[in-house]
Amino acid sequence: MRRFALIAIPYAWLMALFLVPFLIVFKISLSDIALAIPPYTPTMKDGFGALIAGLDFENFVFLTTDSLYFKAYLSSLQIALISTSLTLLVGYPIAYAMARAPQEWRATLMMLVILPFWTSFLIRVYAWMGILSNEGFLNQILLWSGVISTPLTILNTDTAVYIGIVYTYLPFMILPIYAALDRMDDSLIEAAEDLGCSRMSAFWLVTIPLSKNGIIAGCFLVFIPALGEFVIPSLLGGSDTLMIGKILFEEFFNNRDWPVASAVAVVLLLILIVPIVLFQRNQQKQAEAEA
């Protein structure tokens, strides 16, 4: 009896507040917009038969006819890919240096990487608004040092979005890579060097392959949330920065088109399934390799 309750309570909670809501989104994505409360048709009040009969794939067809959505999905993928690569480029040297640091520093370095994660995400994105704006800190420094003569426009462009994503998701990239490098046996590098490898080729042939799982995990941890990101493109991006999270939000709140917003959500989820499954597989492989 107790065992039943132990399983049933969290199970029922997740069914009611995770699975059912998602089924509702799916159902509404097949409905039509209506001038009513709630603003879609058919609803449960119409009876089950009419409900099923009233559903169609019109909204999904609409998504394919309006090029805005296709562009938004593509540009979300592009922004997520580029910023994931940039995060890897910035994060790898940091993780590498952390793993080479003396043992007694490592706990402190770890804490310093994790600390920003505990501070508000919104505030960390907001901090860049003051740095990147035309009169912002970065332009002031560059003008003062004579590198540029007219202020650079960075805020409200895709560049600002890349910077924002790299900045906020950097800990997610550093930690798994650091974990992989930390486990690595240093004598392998020495062996490679003894056998005639240069330091550079020892790095490419030994260190990188051994940290591969950490790199893959870090990339997925950045790529997956970056794809549906809303706050960063809204605050740092321009009006022409198309990201699907932003489109969904606007479709829902500004256009009040719930069926299309739901269809956008369903498609976003379908796109995400591939990287999520790949990520799970990588994690499983890693767990098996350790066992």
Binding site: L17, F22, A101, F121, I123, Y126, G130, L170
Partner: protein
């Protein structure tokens, strides 16, 4: 002792400068006398005064704390139960679905979670307010708690619990007296994680909050959309300060506990 090469020192310095300079600038500019946030006009604490006089910030902060405390506490109970079921529950009907529902919210984009919960609340006619935010936050943070706790439970030696059962404990007492104290650090970090996630959440709260309840992130969002303001800089500084003090204290405490455990272990070895 191993010494760091110049390259590694450079990447650490640049990396941490990148992570911390933006926040440092916020802190510095919160003490700027000028309303023009980019021009330094001397030291002043007047924006903190302005901030404290604005009651809507205080109200939002109270709502946020209330939501965070309630939702993270329920999430910790539910998440620990879920972790226990996943690790020790054996086979039961729908186990795959259950573990799927635990892991899916971790990677679900916030806009989708928010949208789906809002549609549910409207569908069942639940008024949007503090209650709906608590329900939403509990749902996604219980999954994080469950992942943290189950990673600890996996390495937990079950024979300890079996010994307690053999010695006449009921299942619940065995959990309360043996398992729980051992997994307590993971449960506490799960609670802290849930608490932080709730404090931090903007997107899901914007969907499910409704006009009657405004959380701090929603309040911050509505003012930063229009640009940088010194009041928000002051508020950010306060929030960064609280987090920094909290995290540093927590790490000092855990360091000290680790040292004590080590010392006790050594003492036990000597007496043995």
């Amino acid at each position: 002792m191993k010494r760091l090469s110049a390259f590694n020192v450079t990447s650490l310095t640049l990396g941490f400068a990148f992570l911390y300079l933006p926040m440092l600038l916020l802190v510095v500019y919160s003490f700027n006398d000028s309303r023009l946030v980019t021009v330094w006009a001397g030291f002043s604490t007047k924006w903190y005064g302005e901030l404290l006089r604005d009651e809507s910030f205080l109200d939002a902060a109270l709502v946020t704390l209330q939501v965070a405390v309630i939702s993270s506490t329920i999430a910790t109970v539910l998440g620990t139960m879920a972790a226990y079921v996943l690790v020790n529950g054996g086979r039961f009907f729908g186990r795959t679905l259950f573990s799927g529902m635990i892991y899916a919210p971790l990677v679900m984009p916030e806009v989708i979670t928010g949208l789906s919960l809002l549609l549910l609340f409207i569908g069942i006619g639940l008024d949007r307010g503090v209650l709906t935010i608590v329900l939403a936050h509990t749902t996604f943070s219980m999954c994080f708690v469950s992942v943290v706790v189950s990673s600890r439970l996996v390495s937990f030696d079950r024979s300890l619990e079996e010994a307690a059962l053999d010695l006449g404990c009921s299942r619940f007492d065995a959990f309360r007296l043996v398992t729980l104290p051992i997994i307590a650090p993971a449960v506490i970090s799960g609670w802290l994680l849930a608490f932080t996630l709730s404090l931090d959440d903007l997107v899901i709260a914007s969907f499910v909050a409704g006009p009657s309840a405004t959380t701090l992130p929603i309040k911050i969002w509505s003012s930063v959309r229009l640009g940088v303001t010194p009041e928000i800089n002051a508020l950010s500084t306060l929030m960064i300060g609280v987090v920094a003090v909290g995290v540093i204290t927590a790490s000092l405490i855990s360091k000290r506990t680790a040292l004590r455990v080590q010392r006790d272990a050594r003492a036990a070895e000597r007496t043995a």
